[in-house]
Amino acid sequence: MKALVWQGVNRVGVETVPDPTILQPTDAIVRITSTAICGSDLHLLDGYIPTMVHGDILGHEFMGEVVEVGREVRKIQVGDRVIVPFPIACGHCWFCQHDLTSLCDNSNANAKLAEKMFGHAPSGIYGYSHLTGGYAGGQAQFARTLYADENLFKIPDGLTDDQVLFLTDILPTGYMGALNCDIQPGDTVAVYGCGPVGLFSIMSAFLLGAGRVIAIDRFPYRLAKAEALGAEALNYEQEEVLEGLKLRTGGRGPDSVVDAVGMESHGLGLGGLADAVKQTTRIAESDRPHVLRSAIISVRKGGTVSVPGVYGGFGDKIPLGAFMNKALTMRTGQTHVHRFVPRLLEHIVKGEIDPTVIISHRLSLEDAPHGYHIFKHKEDHCVKCVLDPWAD
């Protein structure tokens, strides 16, 4: 089959690799009909997530048709049209039983490795480094999925791939980002980053009762997308964020903020340069936490900082003084996708959320390297690339 393969820092390519097979009786093989490039794939491309190896198949946002199931799979059958959440849930551990599937105790085959870095191991994730299990990803024509009964969600007829594909990651991620803000009716929410997750956070914030959403980015075309969803735009290259947010909120600051950017945020001035240099060394600092710093400084006293953006290692100079003295709350985590799929599916069916508005590019799998390029460099007004693994 054809698959997108990590070939080293800043290099991905489409290669012919062996087809996946059932390796354990709870597995299922999915013939992928749609897959997407995620913002967090860019951290892999840029080489900031450790334990990537040449030849790893990327991709953790994919859906398709079940073509083979292991002998212990009961609920899923060949022919089912399914989406595959990016975190892998075993379904049996305490975390899975409590809808915290991205913290699953049992699905990470390399838990030892992750424990060394994080103290405790998070769940396995498809196509996302050996730290999260080293599982082959879904930017390919086929994928092997684990614990099929617990992970594959059947999609009702009448919904297109575009409508449901983002249920695998970014839609629940944006939703959990907003949910973690603990929005009270009429609250003002600031969202850093108007990429796919930021845009879904904006949609979700309104859905959860926010009165106003202020969207922060530096690309006018992305800010325009946010405005189209009802948010107010703040371009941080033209306006200082803290002052801009104070002006818009009567000096109070937003009630909560969402960091939908993560470890490769862009800072301005000398501080930004210092972090960029330190991160390049991989040793002095692995994460560039500009957004996190700004979020802590600009959120109102007693407010909430929600972090769906991915961090991988260590960041410097987090303003802990502001965090403590302003009595802030921080909530974060990889998304517990399984918990949110049913309710988000309902929102989609009812037409309350239209996930397709963020799609800017449709490419064949062969063109995926180009997709990575324009997505990373924000060229051609790229917001989200959807890939068709079977197109020529």
């Binding site: 390796l23 379904g91 049992n106 030892k112 490795l113």
Partner: protein, 349 residues
């Protein structure tokens, strides 16, 4: 500019300073270098330094040459102390650096003093008055830098040893392996206890075991993987049995590898299942077999037991361990395959 003879006198004063220090502060110096039982040797070396000084002031060429010989003795003593488990390795290393720099300086100076073709001890008069060559001119500066680095490295020398050094020392001191680890398994305590009580199950999750066969009510026969495909076998006796609370066992007298184990079970709070806390002690025999057996546990025996307990948890909670072995990848070279294997845990239950 410094002449060669001035330079030689400076080296003489170096000997005076070092010799006095070694004589008067021998005990402290020995402690700093992590060799407290070498105080006498350090004092002897101090006396030797004073002899060097006396020679340098009277017979410069012989004196400086004798310093070179002394340097070599210092180098040998320090190098002998530079073992992996030496607690003050860094400090010894720095001292080695200082002595090495001194040796180079002494040698250069001695070569200048002893003119080519002249008998040892005969000082070339021109050499004495001649300005020292550039290399020698730079030597004092270099020596001061190295000495500064040495002092810096030895600062706070009474502070406790770094923890990793202390741990390494402790591990070297005890020949046995003792590990205590805990895990929570989301299954009822009765099930977890029953699984463990059937000792034959232990080989399903303890990676160093090949098999356990129950021979009677309290006796079982254990087979562990030994070095190079061999096996180590012993009989164990159940020594404690408190249903749903505790199990303990011990190898019978005269076993090749004396070992004992204890596991405590406790219901975890709320609906979290069962807490399992395990303590294993192995006393491998001295010698090659014991060393090889210890190696099976890897560098970090506790990590090995962590992995074993995780395997038990996965076995009981999901029936198996997840694997990524056998899935497709774009790897073509053995190097990248090896790297991926390094990261991936290929063991399956």
């Amino acid at each position: 500019m410094m002449t060669v003879s001035q330079f030689a006198r400076a080296l003489g004063w170096y000997s005076v300073a070092l010799g006095t220090t070694e004589l008067l502060a021998g005990r402290r110096l020995a402690q700093v270098l992590g060799m407290p039982n070498r105080t006498r040797r350090i004092r002897l070396f101090g006396t030797r330094e004073l002899v060097h000084a006396a020679l340098v002031f009277t017979q410069p060429a012989i004196g400086v040459s004798s310093r070179v010989i002394g340097d070599v003795m210092d180098l040998a003593s320090l190098a002998a102390a530079l073992k992996f488990e030496h607690p003050a390795r860094t400090r010894v290393g720095v001292a080695l650096g200082l002595v090495t720099a001194t040796t180079v300086t002494d040698t250069l100076c001695a070569l200048q003093l002893v003119g080519a073709g002249r008998p040892i001890g005969g000082v070339s008069p021109t050499a004495v008055r001649r300005n020292a060559p550039t290399l020698l001119q730079l030597a004092p500066g270099a020596l001061i830098v190295v000495a500064g680095a040495a002092l810096y490295a030895m600062r706070g020398s009474t502070a406790p040893l770094p923890q990793n050094v202390a741990q390494r020392r402790a591990r070297a001191a005890t020949s046995g392996i003792q590990v205590e680890r805990a895990i929570t398994i989301t299954r009822p305590i009765a099930e977890v206890y029953a699984f463990w009580r059937d000792f034959e199950n232990l080989a399903r999750f303890m990676s160093h075991l090949e098999s356990v066969r129950v021979k009677g009510d309290r006796r079982s026969h254990w087979v562990a993987k030994g070095p190079a495909g061999s096996r180590v076998e012993w009989d164990a006796l159940l020594t404690e049995e408190e249903p749903e609370r505790r199990l303990a066992w011990r190898s019978v007298e005269g076993s090749q590898i004396m070992n004992e184990g204890r596991v405590d079970f406790r219901t975890a709070p709320a609906d979290r299942g069962t807490e399992v806390r395990v303590r294993l002690t192995y006393q491998p025999p001295v010698g090659a077999l014991g060393a090889a057996f210890a190696r099976l546990f890897g560098e970090e025996p506790s990590q090995q037991v962590d992995e074993d307990l995780r395997r038990l948890k996965r076995l009981l909670e999901t029936g198996s361990e997840p694997t990524n072995g056998g899935q497709p990848s774009g790897r073509k070279s053995p190097v990248t395959r090896g790297l991926a294997r390094l990261y991936d845990n290929r063991r399956t239950a």
